[in-house]
């Protein structure tokens, strides 16, 4: 080696809120922790707050190559840079530099909730950069923060509408069946307590297998995301699974209500979102698997709110 590089530099960002959840307009407060063995010369430390919506076209809707190249340009929601230390020298040892930065949307934009999907990602990052001169490596560190919509305490809660759904599944109610004669006789009734759901509350309901001549292997609850991207060629709509929760295992007893209960996973769900360029929506499937591997599925679109 020609240059003796500094043996050890560590950079870390710590925010005060341990949950790392912020609302629009909040001030993000924290420290940048800088640790090195020897004194380090640098050209300044910057802190960037960046919020992006990344859209990607699935290969189902466009060709593979287009999918690869034609990623839609990301939409920037937040972008601000903060110099937390000007060029100079860092003393050896541990240095903590406190910072405070407002979480403010770019002009003409508003903040959406953090969401990690397959084709759509909404992500907010704090990025800290230690710039160093020529011949030296720059150092950086990224920390993701969560953004949620604010619950406005001042406003009265919107009047609760009963959005519950009662459902009945029978062989006759099924669509998309090839050979109806092979479907066993059954009657499944149930109820979803709400189809407009608060994201922080569990999704609830119950289900009764009133009768079923075959053996049941499993009853499952599937949470799906429906992601729609607008692009030059039109819309690309993709449905993918987020999670599946088993609510009935084995040949469950007939006539007894079994509970439907699911907690919406954080990050992978967000309030239902519709914008001019893209949409994020959710659906729930109730899946009944019979002993002979027959699967019946009942689909319910749901709206998530905060």
């Amino acid at each position: 080696m020609f240059f003796k590089d500094d043996d050890f530099i560590a950079l870390d960002i710590k925010v005060k809120k341990c949950s790392k959840v912020y609302h629009e307009g909040d001030v993000i407060a924290g420290v940048v922790v800088f640790e090195c063995k020897n004194d380090v010369k640098h050209d300044g430390i910057d802190l960037t707050i960046e919020g992006l919506v990344n859209l990607q076209l699935s290969s189902k809707n466009v060709g593979i190559f287009e999918a690869f190249y034609n990623s839609v340009k990301p939409i920037q929601l937040v972008s601000s840079v903060l110099e937390i230390a000007s060029a100079g020298k860092m003393p050896a040892g541990k240095t903590e530099i406190p910072f405070e930065a407002p979480l403010q949307a770019c002009a003409n934009r508003r903040l959406y909730e953090t969401y990690h999907g397959v084709f759509i990602n909404i992500q907010y990052n704090l990025h800290c950069d230690l710039k160093r001169g020529f011949l030296h490596k720059d150092h950086g560190r990224t920390l993701e923060i969560m953004v949620e919509y604010k619950k406005q305490p001042g406003l009265p809660a919107p009047p609760k509408k009963d959005t519950s759904v009662n459902f009945t599944i029978t062989p006759e109610s099924l669509q998309n069946v090839n050979d109806r004669s092979r479907v066993p006789r059954f009657l499944v009734t149930g109820r979803l307590d709400a189809t407009v759901c608060e994201i922080s509350k569990p999704f609830t309901g119950d289900l009764i297998v009133d009768q079923c001549e075959g053996e049941i292997k499993s009853v499952e609850l599937q949470l799906l995301r429906v992601e729609t991207c607008g692009c030059a060629e039109g819309f690309a709509r993709d449905v993918t699974e987020i999670q599946t929760i088993q609510i009935g295992e084995g040949n469950i007893v007939r006539g007894l209500a079994i509970p439907i209960y699911m907690i919406f996973p954080r990050m992978f769900t967000c309030p239902t979102l519709t914008t001019s360029n893209f949409k994020v929506e959710f659906e729930v499937n109730i899946v009944i698997i019979f002993g002979d591997e027959h699967i019946i599925t009942e689909n319910f679109p749901i709206t998530l709110i905060r």
């Binding site: 397959v118 999670q243 599946t244 509970p259 209960y261 699911m262 699967i295």
Partner: protein
């Protein structure tokens, strides 16, 4: 240099002391002495109504607890260790609260960990088991489990039950033991991973373990599997709980620097944000577990952690999980999941017990599933019968119902009974209710229960089990109309055709019958048992049960002695063939008899005959191969019986009983020695009755007693016992003026001495027998003093015999025990030379009277003494030559004392000899100078006041001082 000079220079003569008038020692009255048993004085403060003066304390003597006995009662310390120490660690924390609750309430609920061991012992299998886990080395890779849902997009959420790392392995063909070892390994892995900070791995192990509970492939092992796996889950839950608690505590500490530990009853608002965040993270992780059973178990295992979040959350979650169990199709898996939920729920004391009821009623709602087609087909493929299958439910169901019944009012029993009654096949439920509810509730409704039991006819669940449970309740609690209950029950039980079922019921009901009914009914009961057990000699298979019944009868029966007059009791005992079992029966009868207190002396020939019969049974089992401790126990029991039998004034019969006993129990040393003691006691008592003046009849009787002893002693094995007993018998014989018998005993003792082994075993170590022998011979000598010489055998015949024996006894080369004994002999002989002896036996003329201090007799004594002193001097020389100077000094000093005190100093040369010995003792300054000083002082004080003696004595004293 003053070595003792040769014999010719001195001559021993005993000093004849003038008769001493007896002085009374000063005495004062005392209230305490060291041998009095320790008592605790409890003073009671009386009510104010009493007069002031009468408010004295009432001492209530209670023996301070014997430390040895204390160790024995309660549970056996060995079996306490038998429970698995590894898993019990995990228990301490989770159970501490349960036990606290239990102790604070009046009713005791059996804690889980005692049940745990029972389950593990009961539900075992010889089938091969298999398990799937990614954390065990070895085993075949399994094909990745296909998810049942078609869309395959995997998200990071699924990483928890991710099979992608390819390390998922299946271990098949495990025996039960191997399986347990593997689970143990998983447990260690979990803790290990946790300590390594890889908490996700720890969670994955917990999930994989819960997954094993989905599998009912070897169904009869399922309860044990449940126990093993919930152990792991418990330790996992505890780890999570402790970590969050530690987090919260460290946060609080850094904030305030004040209290570092959370109080036990902390509230959620005391918990810092960060800890809550971690907490809810755990629950988010759990809620995304796909499979129902795994999600349920893992969430239940960390349920206690909810207490960090909000107060109400815990019970809400419990209710929610209770509902969730409904989704489990397999009734067995479901009931165990409920059991686990109840266990977790009950570990938090403040919780409302409502969820237990919900769980039980949910189970009732699914009860019909147990008898449904799918379950039957599973049982068919696994070749398990319905009865075994239903028994698998018992532990879980009992736990739930017991939790429910714990401190519950009687009304709950009524409510539950009415619910169960309407279910078909309710035997399992009824049984659980009977075993779980307070026995008094059940027993007060005994007749109603009998009705229910007779009405329910469950396939696969035999009725006798229900009667057994009912019997258990009734043996603890009272019922109103025992006779009616018994009649109703016995109608059914006596019709049971399977001997196993019959005896199981009889065993349980024995307690009820024995406590509630008279001998007449007991006799009928025993007769019924004999009737059922006799065909085809089936009783041979049920010895433990029969033994139990006998035990219950003998311990609880009100009138013990009339037991033997029943015509069915002894035939029942007769059914026990085979050595060991017979001995056990005999032992339990004897132990029961003895535990009734020693005051109950019996002289009923029927009872004695029966007990003798029983004891003979025990005795006859003793053989060469019998263990020492077994012999000891049997010996103890028989000895106790021998001591108990008392014919009162009928001495002849008493003696003939002892003769009979001797003939019956020939093999046991301890019984023989007891017999000799008893006969001696009898002899002494006889003497006491006639106040020492024997008539011809009593004289011949006591002689017979002495003869009995003399004959019996040689059959004892131990030389020590024999020696002691000879001496004792000689003393007793002498007391009863049987001189010849006393002489014979003493002679026998003397001839036995050479056989005494030189070393004895004490507490497993070999010790020299010399100290024992020395003390024995001192005792012997003190008796010898008053034994009159036999006219045929010459003067001091026995003493000469003793000396002869001592001379030829093989002494240890270096010991001076023989010489010490010679010193004692000198003491004894000097006393024998006195005009009257210090003690004597009434109506026995000792040598003082016989010889009247005849000079020939004195001369004889003196010559023997001279011989002894000569021996001692020789030994002193030997000690000097072998450089054992300490011993030499001590011995010389002792001999000096003897000469000065016992000897007549006017006898030629004796004073000089004494002086020489004194010098020898002081020669090397080995003697304690204080002792020497005190001795001189003492000698000065007791100097004789007159005669020639005084001059010599004083002269000697003067020389000593210089």
């Amino acid at each position: 240099m003053s070595t003792p000079r040769s014999q010719s220079l001195w001559e021993w003569a005993c000093r004849i002391a003038p008769p001493v008038t007896k002085k009374k020692l000063p005495s004062e009255e005392v209230h305490d002495h060291p041998l009095k048993p320790m008592t605790i004085t409890v003073s009671e403060t009386r009510g104010a109504s009493k007069r002031l003066g009468t408010g004295t304390s009432t001492p209530t003597p209670s023996l301070v607890m014997d430390p040895l006995g204390a160790a024995l009662d309660g549970s056996d310390p060995l079996s306490q260790f038998a429970k698995d120490p590894l898993t019990s660690d995990a228990w301490d924390a989770t159970d501490s609260q349960t036990t606290k609750v239990a102790s604070s309430t009046d009713e005791y609920m059996e804690p889980w960990h005692t049940r745990r061991a029972v389950i593990l012992n009961k539900f075992t299998t010889s089938e091969k088991l298999s398990m799937v886990s990614s954390f065990l080395s070895a085993g075949e890779k399994v094909v990745r489990a296909q998810s049942s849902v078609s869309s395959i997009v995997r998200t990071r959420l699924e990483q928890l039950d991710d099979y992608d790392d390819g390390t998922m392995r299946e271990l098949a063909n495990l025996t039960q033991q191997e399986y347990i070892i593997r689970i143990e390994q998983l447990n260690k892995q979990l803790v290990h991973n946790w300590e390594k900070d890889s908490r996700v791995n720890a969670l994955r192990i917990a999930i994989q373990c819960s997954a094993l509970l989905e599998d009912t492939s070897v169904i009869q092992f399922y309860p044990s599997k449940f126990v093993l796996i919930t152990d792991i889950l418990d330790s996992f839950g505890k780890l999570v709980y402790d970590r969050i608690k530690a987090k919260a505590e460290s946060k609080i500490m850094s904030g305030r620097r004040a209290s570092t530990t959370l109080p036990d009853n902390f509230t959620p608002d005391m918990i810092p944000e960060e800890a809550k965040e971690i907490c809810s993270n755990w629950f988010y992780k759990c809620s995304s577990i796909r499979e129902l059973v795994r999600r349920l178990y893992v969430e239940a295992s960390i349920l206690k952690t909810y207490s960090f979040l909000t107060k109400a959350e815990f019970s809400q979650a419990l209710t929610r999980l209770t509902k969730m169990v409904r989704g489990i199709g397999d009734p067995l898996v479901a009931v165990y999941a409920r059991c686990y939920l109840c266990r977790v729920g009950m570990s938090v004391s403040t919780i409302n017990r409502q969820f237990l009821k919900e769980n039980f009623y949910d189970f009732l709602a699914t009860y019909h599933q147990l008898f449904s087609g799918p379950v039957r087909s599973v049982l068919n493929t696994q070749k398990v019968d319905m009865c075994t299958y239903l028994h698998l439910y018992t532990p879980a169901l009992e736990w739930i119902v017991q939790g429910l019944a714990h401190n519950a009012p009687e009304s709950l029993l009524v409510e539950i009974l009415s619910r169960c009654y309407h279910k078909g096949n309710s035997a399992l439920l009824l049984n659980t209710v009977m075993t779980s509810f307070r026995p008094s509730y059940v027993s007060s409704r005994a007749l109603y229960f009998i009705e229910l039991i007779s009405a329910c006819n469950t396939e696969g669940y035999p009725q006798y089990l229900l009667f057994k449970s009912l019997g258990n309740c009734l043996s603890v609690a009272e019922t109103e109309s025992p006779l009616q209950v018994l009649n109703e029950v016995w109608k059914v039980i006596s019709k049971l055709e399977q001997p196993a079922q019959y005896i199981a019921c009889a065993e349980v009901w024995a307690h009820f019958i024995v406590t509630h009914f008279s001998n007449h009914e007991i006799n009928i009961f025993l007769g019924d048992i004999i009737l059922h057990m006799t065909p085809n000699r089936v009783y041979e298979q049920f010895y433990p049960q029969l033994l139990n019944i006998v035990d219950k009868v003998v311990t609880n029966c009100a009138d013990f002695e009339s037991l033997f007059s029943m015509d069915k009791f002894l035939p029942l005992i007769d059914m026990f063939h085979g050595e060991t079992i017979k001995v056990n029966v005999c032992k339990s009868i004897m132990a029961a008899y003895m535990s009734r207190g020693s005051k109950e002396l019996s002289n009923d020939p029927i009872v004695i005959d029966a007990l003798m019969f029983v004891c003979r049974g025990m005795h006859d089992s003793v053989s060469v191969l019998t263990v020492e401790d077994e012999k000891r126990q049997i010996g103890l029991l028989i000895s106790q019986l021998v001591r108990q039998v008392n014919f009162g004034q009928d001495l002849e019969q008493q003696l003939s009983y002892f003769v009979e006993a001797r003939a019956a129990f020939t093999n046991l040393d301890s019984v023989h020695s007891t017999l000799v003691q008893c006969v001696n006691k009898l002899s002494v008592n006889t003497g006491r009755i006639v106040r020492g003046h024997h008539t011809r009849k009593t004289a011949s009787f006591v002689r017979a007693c002495a003869a009995y002893c003399y004959i019996t002693i040689p059959s004892i094995f131990s030389e020590y016992t024999r020696l002691q007993l000879y001496l004792l018998s000689a003393e007793v014989a002498l007391m009863n003026q049987c001189l010849g018998q006393a002489d014979a005993c003493l002679k026998a003792a003397l001839s036995l001495v050479p056989e005494l082994p030189t070393s004895i075993e004490v507490d497993g170590k070999m010790r020299s027998s010399e100290p024992y022998l020395t003390s024995y011979i001192s005792h012997f000598l003190s008796l010898l003093l008053i034994v009159p010489d036999s006219p045929q055998l010459g003067v001091l015949y026995l003493l000469r015999g003793l000396l002869n024996v001592l001379k030829h006894y093989t002494w240890d080369q270096n010991s001076s025990a023989r010489i010490r004994i010679y010193l004692y002999v000198i003491d004894m002989l000097s006393t024998a030379a006195q005009e009257t002896y210090p003690y004597s036996i009434r109506k026995v003329d000792s040598n003082d009277v016989l010889y009247g201090s005849d000079p020939k007799f004195i001369a004889e004594i003196n010559s023997v003494c001279s011989g002894l002193i000569e021996e001692i001097l020789t030994h002193l020389k030997f000690l000097g030559s072998s450089e054992q100077l300490h011993k030499q000094a001590a011995l010389a000093f002792d001999l000096f004392i003897r000469i000065v005190i016992r000897g007549d100093l006017t006898s030629p040369g004796l004073a000089t000899l004494a002086l020489n010995l004194w010098n020898l003792a002081n020669k090397n300054r080995l003697l304690d100078s204080k002792l020497a000083g005190r001795t001189v002082e003492y000698l000065k004080r007791r100097s004789p006041t007159q005669g020639v003696q005084q001059n010599v004595y004083n002269e000697l004293l003067n020389k000593l001082g210089s």
